[in-house]
């Protein structure tokens, strides 16, 4: 699936200062029954966001109109657990394009990069600074510059650089995906497969 190119994103942010947010919280298994990639954002953080009678839980951040934006900022070890790409789809479908945390689970990170969400890993200290800035002023803007690999809190000017390999960076900046790359090298794969033991 093609996705929007990612270059520079300046946005307000939604703070979720909880650690070990697993993919069952991002989207519970009972909402994985679709055979198409549609509407997963409606059930993003379903059980934290809604009561059993589907009324919104007022104390959950997505139900607080003060906080909006395309950047989700979360506690360490975000996206642990299941490999369900539905978790990344739900985040994308809801409208986020970037998730910031001090630590990401591997599969979630891969899934995000594969669908055009940029996971930005910052130091624990910088993560705290973002939480403080956003809590002090929900209109505080964060700028994520993929080309420069930097994340900046606009109000204070504080900035940090983040890692991403140049292959994935190039893909995200151009809206390319791995399937395009692999299709272009199928002859090489076929030669390899011919020598394969299995």
């Amino acid at each position: 699936m093609a996705y929007d190119k990612f270059t520079v994103l300046t946005s307000t942010a939604v703070p979720l200062p909880i650690e070990n947010v697993d993919t069952d919280q991002i989207i519970p298994a009972r909402f994985l029954k679709a055979t198409e990639r549609k509407g997963f954002g409606d059930n993003l953080f379903r059980d934290w966001r809604y009561n059993n009678d589907d009324s919104p839980k007022q104390d959950f951040v997505l139900n607080n109109p003060i906080y909006t934006g395309k950047i989700l900022v979360a506690g360490k070890n975000f996206g642990s657990g299941s490999s369900r790409e539905h978790a990344a789809w739900a985040i994308y479908d809801y409208g986020f394009r970037c998730v910031v945390s001090s630590f990401f689970a591997d599969i979630f990170k891969n899934n995000s990069l594969n669908i055009g969400i940029l996971p930005v890993q910052v130091t624990p200290t910088f993560l705290d600074k973002i939480f403080l800035a956003v809590e002090a002023d929900p209109k505080a803007e964060i700028t994520v510059n993929l080309e420069q690999q930097s994340i900046t809190i606009a109000a204070t000017g504080e900035s940090e650089s983040f890692d991403i390999n140049s292959y994935k960076k190039h893909n995200l900046m151009n809206g390319y995906d791995d399937i395009d790359y692999l299709q272009a090298m199928k002859d090489e794969i076929r030669v390899f497969a011919d020598k394969s033991k299995y």
């Binding site: 490999s83 630590f103 891969n110």
Partner: protein
């Protein structure tokens, strides 16, 4: 120049790199690809949208498991969305010429149970599936890990994924596991030591006397839960136990092909002097039966211990308190004696014959506690048949238990097997996340022996007290 000593992981990984991308991932060749009904439909849609074919249909195997009922499998599936997913798997498999073991097929069962038991999983392979517990297959000395749906589409269309090579972790456990201490306890203990994120970025090799002496079922339980400490996977060098398990299974090599394969498999071990990025050593004598008290698999303790304080655990106090609050537990609570409502034995972690033997060893001659609801779910039809053949079915029935039909069931509660809100379940599965076993459900992860002890007493009980 002599070759550098290599780890088992290096040997298998490096043999599967089609192309190295500078400052990027490896193009990584996949020998076996398992698919199921939940994470594959959008990948097949992707193929259609791009007008791509499946490159090697004979390297992909489909089985329905995540979203299947565990009673009345002969009847049409009630939930239209679930039925639609199962139909999509069947249709897509037929369209592209992929082997499909759907509901009702005698080979059907949980993907990580049926792969090994039919000889599809072999040492030295690379194995992926859109399921994080694909790490199970590492028990055979394979590199096996879970992938997302975009990657499922990559494997279908090109038999490769793009993967940065993880770092290497060695976990040694030496000594002998004590009475009533199972492979599940060993892995829960390791996760509790390392935390739920302690192995993120790594691929694990498990070594030492405990794993050498472990059955294949036990090794699968251990490798299965590698992901619960954040690792993509974990593996154990193949040995005589591995070869004996594989020999004669339907899709295993035979005759001359067996001899060739065996010669290769015997080279699959870490060379002396090979380097790991990190090494942990544990002593089996320190491991007692384990149980979790919180909402991630790293929140586990020995069953005789008390719930630790936030200060002792470290990390965010607010997250810890949120977790205990969800569970309805308090710091310093004893686990022994806590009343439970449900028992679930099954899943890709503990749904194999050895697990039901262990469960039966405790319930034999006892009765299920009246207030406990027990869901006993074999990992496959082959396991179910063994349960009947070995007389375990009769032991269960006499003790007041019913056997259900194979599937993932209450492990992730996608089907109707949901633990009700607020209820406590001792589960042999792999995740105790909030709502994992049903909205509001409270999960205590444990071994089949701990599950059996809870099922007959109705409270958390040390299984060693019930073992002769």
């Amino acid at each position: 120049m002599s070759q550098q000593p290599a780890t088992l992981f290096d040997k298998v990984w490096d043999a599967h790199v089609v192309r190295k991308i500078e400052d990027g991932p490896d193009v990584f060749f996949i020998d076996r690809h398992f698919i199921h009904e939940v994470t594959s439909p959008v990948a097949f849609l992707g193929l259609e949208n791009r007008k791509l074919q499946v490159m090697f249909p004979n390297k992909t195997f489909a089985t329905a498991d995540h979203n299947t009922p565990t009673i009345n499998q002969h009847l049409p599936v009630q939930d239209p969305l679930s039925a639609n997913q199962l139909k999509a798997l069947e249709t897509n498999s037929a369209k592209y010429g992929i082997s499909h073991w759907g509901l009702g097929n005698p080979k059907n069962g949980i993907v990580h149970v049926v792969g090994p038991e039919n000889g599809i999983t072999l040492p030295g392979m690379t194995i992926v599936c859109g399921d994080s517990h694909t790490s199970t297959h590492g028990a055979f000395g394979a590199i096996a890990f879970g992938i997302g749906t975009s990657e499922v589409e990559m494997v279908l269309s090109s038999q490769c994924i793009m993967q940065p090579k993880p770092k290497k972790m060695l976990i040694n456990v030496n000594g002998k596991l004590g009475k009533g201490v199972t492979p599940k306890d060993a892995v829960l203990y390791i996760i509790a030591q390392l935390t739920a994120a302690g192995a993120t970025g790594y691929f694990i090799e498990y070594a030492g006397q405990v794993f050498r002496e472990m059955s294949m079922e036990g090794r699968m339980t251990v490798c299965n839960m590698s992901i619960e400490m954040g690792a993509r996977g974990g593996m154990i060098a193949p040995d005589e136990t591995t070869f004996a398990y594989i020999k004669g299974r339907e899709k295993a090599p035979q005759g001359e092909a067996w001899d060739t394969a065996l010669a290769y498999w015997k080279t699959l071990k870490t060379d002396e002097g090979a380097a790991f990025d990190v090494v942990y050593n544990y002593d089996a004598a320190d491991i007692e039966p384990q149980i979790t008290y919180g909402t991630n698999p790293g929140m586990g303790i020995g069953i005789s211990q008390r719930i630790p304080t936030a200060e002792v655990v470290g990390g965010s106090k607010a997250s810890y308190e949120k977790s205990l609050d969800y569970m309805g537990f308090h710091e310093n609570d004893a686990m022994i004696g806590k009343k439970i409502d449900y028992v679930f034995i099954g899943s890709c972690t503990n749904g194999r014959i050895e697990d039901f033997r262990a469960f039966a060893s405790i319930v034999k001659g006892r009765k299920k506690a009246d207030h406990v609801t027990a869901w006993i779910v074999p990992g496959s039809h082959i396991v179910e048949a063994q349960i009947r053949e070995e007389g375990i079915f009769d032991i269960l029935t006499e003790a007041g238990f019913q056997l259900r039909q194979p599937g993932c069931s209450a492990c992730l509660a996608m089907n109707d097997d949901k633990i009700p809100a607020g209820k406590y379940a001792v589960s042999t599965s792999n995740r105790n996340f909030e709502g994992r076993q049903g909205p509001g459900a409270r999960t205590l992860l444990a071994s089949p022996l701990v599950a059996a002890a809870a099922a007959v007493t109705g409270v958390v009980t040390d299984p060693r007290d019930l073992i002769a």
